[in-house]
């Protein structure tokens, strides 16, 4: 990387050091400093790295995003109502800082902790240290290192053994201005037999270019279940980088559904460690983009122990000059017998200038396994279009209808009613008016 970017982030660290949370915690300080040193060494990923060969982040490297201070924003409760989903508990983050006054957590039952990470660092630093105290020898990328160095806040969600909430929890992340950097860290811990349903929701209050860099760590205990929805509606100029890592214990279940609709340059890494017998995960995703949007999903599922199951379905609809990247890695480790993995990536290209790069990937080191994957790229089936046209539906509507049906396969899996309704509204928004009468 250019020395200037490393210098910039070093200066930036010196500037914001005074108000970063957990200043007095030596372990956190060490973690931040070693992450910053790591970043100074490696810098941002480049196209020469296999994991980044289709996604160029030079624009992020060239830009100078300033870490947003906790005070200045001016987001109002009315605005929150416009973005948020009804009927949920809510943690609101503005420019990477938890805003209790805008959040609605209510009275929580015993064993449930819902708060900001900075607050939890004050309240129970040992617990946070136990969860994230170790400094990794290497980071997945320069982005992960930057996040570790600059992390300001994020959601802290912990459910004790057997804890269950009736309502899902919405984590609403709002970005207000251009040229800001947000490095958020979410921690989710599901005790044995507990059940957590989360919606990570990113919205923009303006149209500017900003840099959102979120890392989410999820621990799924024995026979616990975590459902993680991610709805990304960033500004069309925004850089959105996100990494989710879920580690499952025996019998644990993890579901991730990633809906990428906004953002200019988007990269999402989702990793799942099936670390004990009978753990299971489902990863679904939908990217629906146009203009010059670039959306990259990298998923990695590690079948580390026997008898685990994974299911994955990622679908993409590409219009304009957009570009989508999908890389789905499934690794069945030695002795992980009776692993069952299925993965599919389906892409619909709607325009001459759109591009898709798909790379499903299987690495298998055990023999008694059932693994398969499939990937397709194509356009709408002319016979289906013809079928609709022969019944009096005009060409544009027929295509819109089929496109809607293609995307709906992922949307209909969402079991949180208000979220599904919002997604359908958003999908419809991209269709011609007359199609809505047909549906």
């Amino acid at each position: 990387m250019s020395a200037t970017a490393a210098d910039f982030y070093r200066d930036e660290f010196a500037r914001v050091d005074a108000w970063l949370p957990g200043r007095r915690l030596p372990w956190l300080r060490r973690a931040r400093e070693s992450a910053l040193a790591y970043f100074a060494d490696t810098g941002f990923p480049t196209l020469r790295q296999e994991e980044w060969k289709y996604t160029n982040v030079a624009m992020i490297e060239k830009s100078r995003f300033a870490l947003a201070a906790p005070d200045r924003d001016g987001v109002t409760a009315e605005q929150i109502d416009g973005w948020s989903l009804p009927g949920m508990l809510r943690l609101v983050f503005v420019n990477g800082h938890y805003r209790p006054s805008l959040s609605s957590v209510g009275d929580l039952p015993g064993g449930v902790t819902l708060t900001g990470l900075a607050e939890q660092l004050e309240r129970a630093p040992e617990r946070v240290e136990a969860l994230m105290g170790t400094v990794p020898a290497a980071y997945a990328s320069g982005f992960a290192a930057l996040n570790a160095a600059f992390m300001t806040d994020g959601a802290y969600v912990e459910f004790a053994d057997g804890a269950v909430l009736d309502a899902p929890v919405e984590l609403l992340f709002i970005s207000t201005g251009p040229d800001l950097a947000m490095h958020t860290r979410n921690l989710v811990v599901a005790g044995a037999g507990s059940r957590i349903s989360l919606i990570e929701h990113h919205v923009a209050a303006g149209e500017g270019a900003y840099f959102s860099n979120a890392v989410t760590g999820i621990v799924v205990g024995h026979d616990a279940e975590v459902v993680h929805h991610k709805l990304q509606q960033e500004s069309r100029k925004a850089f959105h980088i996100a990494a989710v890592q879920a580690d499952l214990q025996g019998g644990g279940r993890f579901t991730s559904r990633s809906f990428a609709l906004g953002g200019g340059l988007v990269r999402v890494d989702i990793g799942v460690g099936l670390n004990a017998e009978r753990a299971a995960c489902t990863l679904d995703g939908l990217y629906m983009i146009d203009g010059r949007q670039h959306v990259d999903h990298h998923t990695r599922i590690d079948h580390a122990r026997p008898l685990c199951t994974s299911r994955e379905l990622y679908k993409g609809v590409l219009a304009g000059a957009s570009r989508a990247v999908f890389n789905g890695k499934v690794i069945v480790h030695a002795d992980a017998q009776h692993s069952d993995a299925y993965q599919a990536n389906r892409n619909l290209l709607l325009s001459d200038n759109a591009e898709v790069d798909s790379k499903p990937q299987l690495e298998i080191y055990a023999d008694d396994v059932k693994c398969s994957h499939g990937a397709t790229v194509g356009q709408l089936d002319p016979e289906q279009v013809f079928y609709l046209r022969s019944r009096g539906v005009d060409d544009a509507s027929a295509r819109a209808l089929l496109t809607f049906a293609f995307a709906e396969e992922v949307v209909e899996r969402v079991d949180i009613e208000p979220l599904r309704a919002l997604l359908e509204t958003l999908l419809m928004g991209q269709l011609p008016e007359r199609v809505k009468e047909l549906l």
Binding site: L349, E355, S358, P360, I364, V369, S372, A375, V377
Partner: protein, 481 residues
């Protein structure tokens, strides 16, 4: 493996082509430098343009570093510890006919079952046998020459048809292409050259046996096949190598060019020495194979059966330039003991309505690691391109691995690209089904493995299909328990 062959027999079988022929060889000293390249070129009496090309390749190679992205592992290769040229001594006098060929060589071919002399006639195969880098015998030459077909050793082509060589050499795999292709371009010893004139259908299957013989001699073969407008040729390449302990580097380059309406079928059975049961020794087979469908309606088809080599690293590819061009890739790759294979294909769609089919079958046994790595690229210009890929893996034993790395890059909305991959092992229920019908478990396994590969074998010419089945059986020895 024929189903009557008993498994015990298989397990006890040794590598049956493991022998060593005592032939005096004329080698250049180990090591690589511009002097060595000048020496090779001089020994072969090459024209200047050839030497210049070699030197350019060498100078480029010096700027490159060995690639490490493949999922294969091996100790570092010392390129200065390889002898880059070995020619059988008998070559000096230039054998005028088969009778002039060293009887030791002839016996070698007999052991290998190369159909020379009358047997060649019966089998209908013309053999340009490459023995330690220099072609020593060419048959059916007159018959082919009558049709205007040029089929000769590469050295001969450089001398006799320099214009053809100059026009096409490096036009598919340039000397800057990759580390091993550059190395090959600098030091290639010999290989086969084939030119089919417009409208000619080659009346027989052309075949070459490559063989590594002299100790410590890396083989750097170069093959160039050109099918002019409307021509057709089917080419067979078979490899066997004698048993030895040291790892040997084999970095071949194959270039195929199909002009308008032309068709090339290229089939390989690769059975280089795979190393012993502990993974010692064996050939490193780092090959660049690429076909260029340069004209409209042209077709190139690769079929390979890879059972040998300690490491196989090759991606026979097709560049579909012409409209309506067709590319095909059929592969069976088997890894046993500590063998590693990283193989697959690249289909680059440039022309309109180009079509490609990929069918890859990987079989892993013992500690074998088998990876399919493929690229399907549809450029913006490739309106109506169509690809279908299927990659299946069969695992025998719990210490082996099967991996799939398909890259799909699509820039045209009218393209249809489909990729499917599956992994399985031989199911208890399948074995039970066979046993309940009186089929011994060993025979059942062999039936299932052969059934698994059937779609690929049917693409091979008859004689090759039989040989391929046998090879599969031999290579699986000791792995089914």
């Amino acid at each position: 493996m024929s189903s009557t062959l008993k498994l015990d027999e298989l397990i006890s079988q040794d590598y049956k082509h493991g022998f060593y022929t005592e032939v005096e060889t004329d080698s250049v000293p180990r090591g690589l430098s511009e002097d060595v390249i000048r020496q090779i070129s001089a020994k072969k009496g090459e024209p200047d343009f050839m030497l210049e090309w070699r030197l350019a390749a060498y100078r480029h190679w010096l700027t490159m570093s060995e690639p490490h992205w493949a999922t294969v592992h091996h100790p570092p290769i010392d390129y200065q510890d390889i002898s880059y040229y070995a020619a059988p001594k008998s070559r000096k006098d230039g054998p005028q006919s088969l009778d002039d060929v060293d009887p030791e060589l002839r016996r070698t071919y007999e052991k290998l079952g190369v159909p020379l002399e009358e047997r060649a006639l019966l089998a209908g195969v013309a053999v340009d046998a490459v023995f330690d880098s220099v072609s020593v015998a060419t048959t059916f030459k007159e018959k082919l020459a009558g049709l205007g077909i040029v089929f000769c050793s590469f050295s001969e082509a450089v001398r006799e048809y320099p214009e053809l060589v100059r026009q096409y050499l490096g036009s598919v795999v340039p000397y800057t292409d990759n580390f091993f292709a550059s190395l090959n371009s600098a030091v290639f010893s010999d290989g086969s050259f084939c030119y089919i004139p417009p409208g000619v259908r080659c009346p027989m299957e052309l075949s070459t046996y490559f063989r590594i013989n002299a100790r410590n001699t890396g083989q750097f073969e170069r093959t160039l096949i050109i099918a002019d407008k409307g021509a057709y040729v089917s080419y067979l390449e078979g490899c066997t190598a004698p048993m030895r302990d040291e790892n040997q580097l084999h970095a071949a380059v194959v270039e195929l060019i199909a002009l308008e309406d032309a068709q090339i079928k290229y089939a390989t059975v690769q059975n280089w020495y795979p190393g012993d049961k502990e993974g010692r020794g064996g050939i490193y087979n780092f090959v660049t194979k690429r076909g260029d469908c340069r004209g409209d309606n042209s077709k190139i088809s690769w079929t390979q059966v890879e059972t040998g080599s300690a490491i196989t690293w090759k991606y026979p590819s097709v560049i579909l330039q012409g409209d309506n061009a067709v590319g095909e890739f059929y592969s069976v790759a088997l890894t046993n003991h500590y063998q590693q294979a990283d193989t697959g294909t690249k289909m680059v769609h440039l022309g309109k309505n180009t079509r490609s089919t990929i069918l890859s079958k990987g079989i892993s046994a013992g500690h074998g690691q088998n990876a399919y790595r493929g690229l399907v690229k549809v450029a913006k210009s490739a309106v109506g391109a169509r690809n279908y890929s299927q990659c299946d893996s069969l695992l025998l034993g719990d210490r082996c691995g099967a991996h799939t790395f398909p890259y799909i890059e699509v820039k045209n909305p009218t393209a249809r690209v489909e990729h499917e991959a599956s992994t399985s092992r031989i199911g208890e229920d399948q074995l039970f089904y066979c046993q309940s019908r009186g089929i011994a478990p060993e025979d059942a396994v062999s039936m299932i493995v052969n059934g698994f590969c059937k779609e690929v074998f049917k693409e091979l010419p008859m004689e090759f299909a039989v040989e391929a089945q046998k090879l599969l059986g031999v290579s699986l020895e000791g792995s089914i328990g």
